[in-house]
């Protein structure tokens, strides 16, 4: 079971923490229907480590904590 922490813009009534079975970050994208909005704005952190590239190579195991982080900047 994977714990997924959602940022406020993605909660949409789902609460800030969800638990789900997932083997990869792609699984989470599909289950949360994030394919559209996340393109521009959201990154993943797995067990506190921010993923800046190579998302496809990240595999998840039982007990992992995934956080979706708003990756956006201002001035």
């Amino acid at each position: 079971m994977i714990t997924v922490h959602l940022p406020e813009p993605l909660r949409e009534g789902r609460g800030d923490v969800m638990r789900m079975n997932a083997a990869s970050l792609d699984d989470i994208i599909v289950r949360l229907d994030l394919a559209g909005d996340r393109d521009e704005l959201f990154n993943f952190a797995v067990n506190g480590e921010l993923i800046l590239h190579g998302e496809k190579n990240v595999t998840l195991k039982n007990g992992d904590e995934v956080e979706i982080v708003v990756a956006f900047a201002g001035g």
Partner: protein, 677 residues
């Protein structure tokens, strides 16, 4: 040649009639002799540099006497509006340009709110100010007719009181009846990290424009009314609707900018181990300052002239705000309600004019949080509100305080000199320091000199080893760029110094884009490595960003809503060329307008060359070459000098620059031809 002779010579080459339907005047104001002259920028210059920042550079290049000191009143201060300012959604910006007394290189700073739009709507495209007024002056435009008013009633006022007094004295409402650009007591006292306030928070911040304006004895420029007829060459409002829809449908706008504003990068930066902390000695900090922790203190959002985004968060720590917006709604969803815990260290609302205000932006959160050792949201908000009132650039002021704190930590300056305990996170002292900086009192006088404190004899020479600055300008962005090499290159080559708003490849933090090599290559015009810490191809991304941001500044578009700064989907060249044609009748291709962005950088490098800037100045702080990141997934990362130097050479080559970083001879000849137009 004197400034008067330079202005005479330039006026002789400018046009006497508008060159396109919406063109406003360029007004030359000699504050010393209270003389006003007018002209129009020639079409060839507009076609090469557009307006705003680009044409400001044309004016500065023609009027600059580099044998003077930057603060000298015969070095002009130039306000400019973008060629689309006030006419396209989110195009509400303008630039102020000069020779910086803070960095001693090019000064060029951008602001929004309402002042630039009031310039444009009153037929003023550029305002060239020079000469020291005999007494403090308020320049009052009704339409485009200026009056020189004795500013004695407003001298000594800071931003909050000044704006209230102006509203009362001129019987109007800012943003509705007038636009105002003004300096505070910090500007009057020639504080080098002071800006020109264009609103309650909006500030022409970087490079010390407040001091520069103070050096002219100019307290404020007030533009009242809407006198100009801005009839466009062709209908443009239908295309405006497309621009607005594109803005509002972009994920970054609807999910972030419009809801919370800009402080989001704090979290990924600290998780990455790239959050500038304690003058970049460390690179991560508390999660207590994550953007969502500001939610309870945000009663609503504000925005600039005719912008549908409204990205400016307000703050209110009194717990008695009226709005039911933003973070409070999210708190409601979780059933927790809005109940921020009062900070017992702070005054009660009745005593405290800093209990509410505008902001903070991400820069302020970083500079007045981790960079000086502050961990409490309420303390950052209050320092933000004080800086807005005192007219201090939070990037420069925060950096200068952090520098002083590291010097204190290392014993390079001592309590005997400072009379204050400059320990990291010492909130009471930091708050006191802000007022001392504005008044140039005690150690505040040294901090007020910003990066020039060593040159001005306030700190010993060894202090320079710990100054986080490039070309004399301290870093704007709190992100520590030892990991992301595109960020690092951008900070090194930015023409105004160490500033992210000139060229930052923000999308380097986006994994989805990094993992899409074809899309990334299309976005930047060439292959760019997917790996954040690689040097490979990063010059291509910086070049593309620098071009489009320079174009954005020249049309007046906000950086946050310009393609590439935060999203690949925001308005960019297709929208810019269409609206430039609709508004002005000037037809450009996307390739041509990209070339204009390059031209702006080229002229800026010609100006910097005259001031003495060389390749050696396109570098980074010593710390980033010599000390490695100590935490996070990129622990051990720093900047490799040899790799950096090769990346810099590649950047010069694709930018049509020589190995010394100035335009190659053939291009230089073209640019000088435009500048002599």
């Amino acid at each position: 040649m004197s400034i008067h002779a330079r202005v005479d010579a330039l006026l002789g080459r400018l046009a006497s009639e508008p060159q396109f339907p919406t063109q406003g005047q360029t007004i030359f104001v000699d504050l010393e002799h209270q003389e006003v002259r007018r002209a129009y920028i020639p079409l060839r210059v507009v076609e090469s540099l557009l307006g705003g920042r680009g044409v400001n550079m044309f004016l500065l290049h023609n009027l600059l006497d580099e044998t003077l000191e930057p603060i000298h009143p015969h070095v002009p201060l130039i306000f400019g509006t973008g060629i689309l300012t006030s006419m396209v959604p989110s195009a509400s910006r303008g630039n102020v340009t000069s020779w910086s007394p803070e960095s001693r290189v090019l000064l060029d700073s951008n602001a929004g709110d309402y002042f630039p739009s009031f310039m444009k709507l009153n037929g003023i495209d550029h305002l060239v100010l020079y000469g020291k007024a005999a007494k403090w002056t308020l320049l009052h435009f009704e339409g485009n007719e200026p009056k020189f008013i004795d500013a004695a009633p407003w001298v000594g006022l800071d931003n909050l009181d000044l704006r209230a007094r102006i509203a009362e004295d001129f019987k109007g409402v800012e943003g509705k009846d007038y636009g105002l650009a003004a300096i505070t007591t910090a500007g009057e006292n020639l504080v080098l990290c002071s800006g020109i306030m264009a609103g309650p928070k909006a500030i022409y911040a970087r490079g010390g424009p407040g001091a520069k304006m103070g050096g002219l004895h100019l307290k404020a420029v007030l533009i009242q009314g809407r006198a100009a007829d801005l009839t466009t060459a062709r209908p443009h409002k239908l295309r405006n609707r497309d621009v607005a829809l594109k803005l509002l449908s972009t994920s970054v706008v609807k999910n972030a900018l419009k809801i919370r504003g800009t402080p989001f990068l704090y979290k990924p930066s600290r998780m990455l181990g790239a959050m500038g902390t304690k003058n970049n000695q460390e690179t991560t900090w508390t999660d207590k300052l994550d953007a969502e922790n500001i939610d309870p203190y945000r009663p609503g959002m504000e925005g600039c002239f005719a912008c549908p985004v409204n990205c400016r968060p307000l703050n209110d720590m009194s717990g008695v705000g009226e709005s039911d917006f933003g973070g409070r709604e999210s708190e409601k969803e979780t059933g927790e309600g809005f109940a921020p815990t009062p900070d017992p260290r702070l005054p009660t609302p009745a005593q405290d004019k800093y209990i509410k205000g505008d902001g903070p932006e991400y820069v302020t959160l970083g500079k007045f949080g981790p960079n000086i050792g502050i961990t409490e949201v309420t303390q950052v908000l209050r320092l933000n509100n004080i800086c807005n009132d005192l007219g201090l650039d939070t990037a420069s002021a925060g950096s200068a305080i952090a520098w002083a704190m590291e010097l204190y930590q290392r014993g390079i300056i001592t309590q005997e000199q400072t009379k204050l305990d400059l320990t990291w996170g010492n909130y009471d002292v930091i708050e006191k320091l802000l007022f001392m900086i504005a008044k140039r009192e005690g150690i505040g006088d040294a901090i007020a000199d910003s990066s020039q404190a060593v040159a001005n004899g306030k700190y010993p020479a060894e202090a320079l080893d710990y100054l986080m600055a490039v070309k004399g300008l301290t870093q704007s962005d709190p992100h520590d760029a030892r990991i992301l090499k595109a960020f690092a290159l951008g900070l090194a080559v930015a023409t105004r110094g160490m500033d992210h708003l000139r060229n930052r490849v923000t999308l380097e933090i986006n994994a989805k884009i990094n993992d899409s090599p074809d899309f990334k290559a299309e976005l930047y015009g060439g292959p760019v490595s997917a790996e954040p810490n690689s040097y490979e191809g990063k010059e291509i991304a910086v070049r593309r960003c620098e071009n489009i941001y320079a174009v954005g500044d020249s049309v007046g578009m906000c950086r946050f809503t310009t393609k590439l700064f935060n999203s690949p989907s925001l308005p960019g060249y297709p929208e810019f060329v269409d609206q430039v044609e609709n508004v002005t009748g000037i037809s450009l291709t996307a390739e041509q307008i990209d070339g204009i962005g390059l031209n702006v950088m080229g002229v800026e490098r010609l100006i910097n060359e005259r001031i003495g800037v060389t390749r050696a100045d396109d570098t980074l702080p010593k710390r980033w070459f010599e000390e490695a990141i100590g935490v996070g997934p990129y622990k051990g990362e720093k900047i490799d000098r040899a790799e950096f130097d090769k990346m810099l050479s590649r950047f010069y080559e694709i930018s049509n620059l020589t190995e010394e970083g100035v335009p190659k001879p053939e291009w230089r000849e073209e640019l000088e031809g435009v500048l002599a137009s």
